[in-house]
């Protein structure tokens, strides 16, 4: 007996600690589900070929681009987005480091950058310069040139940063 083929289904996800249940078409991308169905607009869309990383979120502990996952594939998953980083308006260490080092200008790539930085620092507590660049290689920024973002992530890891 084969598995059922569905055009739409109910999806249940936990996002930043809150559980949501919605009916959704199979074709709907996770990023659109988050932004349009759940009104969680912190995660952004910057391209249509999976290159820019503005849509980066952490799903079941793995950093991925939510524009290349269907919402139905995330059924039952635990998703972390930028919304879950601050504690009741208090910026966390990574966010504060971005503020301290001017690691954002227009702010559009920032949610994705923060998630990539978060994923890196969970894995590597004292990343090298190369590891930092590799960690955000999938996140395009057009405003900063990345240099201040490298500094911010290094500072967030507690390492000293050349000013």
């Amino acid at each position: 007996m084969g598995a059922p083929v569905v055009i739409s289904q109910t999806v249940r996800v936990e996002v930043d600690g809150t559980t949501f249940e919605r009916a959704v078409e199979a074709r709907r991308l996770l990023v659109h589900f988050l932004r349009d169905d759940l009104d969680l607009t912190g995660t952004h869309i910057g391209c249509d070929t999976g290159n820019c990383g503005a849509c980066s979120v952490i799903v079941d502990g793995k950093l991925l681009k939510s524009c290349m996952l269907l919402a139905v594939q995330a059924d039952g998953s635990s998703i972390e987005t930028v919304d879950g980083l601050a504690d009741d308006g208090q910026l966390n260490t990574v966010q504060q480091a971005f503020a301290d080092h001017h690691g954002l200008q227009c702010g559009y790539c920032t949610p994705g950058m923060l998630m990539s930085a978060t994923a890196l620092l969970r894995e590597t507590s004292s990343p090298s310069d190369e590891e930092i660049a590799r960690a955000i290689q999938g996140n395009i920024c057009r405003c900063t040139g990345y240099w201040n973002i490298f500094k911010a992530i290094k500072a967030a890891s507690g390492q000293e940063v050349a000013e």
Partner: protein, 268 residues
């Protein structure tokens, strides 16, 4: 950016997956989605049904046999290859996977997806061709083994036919391997790539220069022998915005020699 309407299935066994593929001629297997979902966003292809292989345990995992053969499940992600202790038996695998795109893509993209896409600019088709990999293709009626040389049939076309799935990638033992490429930007799309393997004879597989990897077996690993063998292959690479056919032909020679040099260094 917006997909056409599609059916979705998430089978739990290989049998279930094959059944759906057989029942729905317009169905396609969904591996990591790092290629197929983009294709669907552009509506360059709009399958009727997506068969999500992510819930089938037997398609995952890496095993190292006592004879040194690596058996890799097609749903193994690039990240899993990179971090796998078993895959270190053939280090070139992890090294090449580490050059693919970025962390996010490596967390989802799969080895099987990469080779079944048979995109001429992908890294894994020429790598597997050079390593002499063997692919297991399964259908409702049973499974068969296909050599890498016979697996890639054309752009986006492989020996995996309708109602079939790639179920195993077998890599023979060896260590004298090399890989070189000219990507657009670090870890970007390749203009030319080449994999070389010197485990008994020299085998080079060139990517980006034809619909499928072009295998060249020079008489020796000397630079001139390698370059001569590439020239003799009579490549007819595409011309596009990134490179002309002539430029690709030239790069193929140089990159092949560099892949061979790296392999030679590891042969010691």
């Amino acid at each position: 950016m917006l997909l056409s309407e599609v059916g979705y299935a998430r089978p739990e066994t290989l049998e279930q997956a094959l059944e759906i593929l057989v029942e729905n001629p317009g169905a396609r297997a969904l591996a990591g989605g790092q290629t197929l979902i983009n294709v669907m966003k552009a509506r360059a292809a709009s399958p009727d049904v997506l068969v999500d292989l992510g819930g089938i345990p037997e398609l995952k995992g890496i095993e190292l046999g006592s004879d040194g053969t690596l058996e890799i499940g097609p749903m193994t992600t690039y990240a899993e290859v990179i971090s796998s202790a078993e895959a270190r038996a053939r280090p070139i695998l992890g090294e090449v996977c580490a050059q693919i795109a970025d962390v996010q893509v490596r967390n989802r993209g799969t080895v099987g997806g990469n080779i079944c896409a048979s995109d001429p600019t992908n890294n894994l088709p020429p790598l597997l061709a050079a390593l002499g990999a063997e692919l297991t293709v399964a259908g409702m009626g049973g499974a068969r083994k296909v050599s890498a040389g016979e697996f890639f049939l054309g752009v986006y076309m492989t020996a995996v036919g309708p109602g079939e799935l790639l179920t195993k990638i077998s890599i023979p033992p060896g260590r004298a391997d090399g890989f070189a490429s000219v990507p657009i930007g670090v870890d970007g799309t390749c203009i030319v790539n080449a994999a070389a393997s010197l485990n008994g004879g020299a085998r080079i597989a060139l990517g980006c220069v034809g619909a499928v990897p072009v295998v060249v077996e020079p008489e020796s690993t000397e630079v001139e022998a390698v370059r001569g063998a590439v020239r003799e292959a009579g490549l007819e690479p595409p011309s596009d915005v990134h490179a002309s056919a002539d430029y690709r032909r030239h790069l193929a020679e140089v990159i092949a020699a560099r892949a061979v040099r790296q392999a030679s260094e590891r042969a010691r």
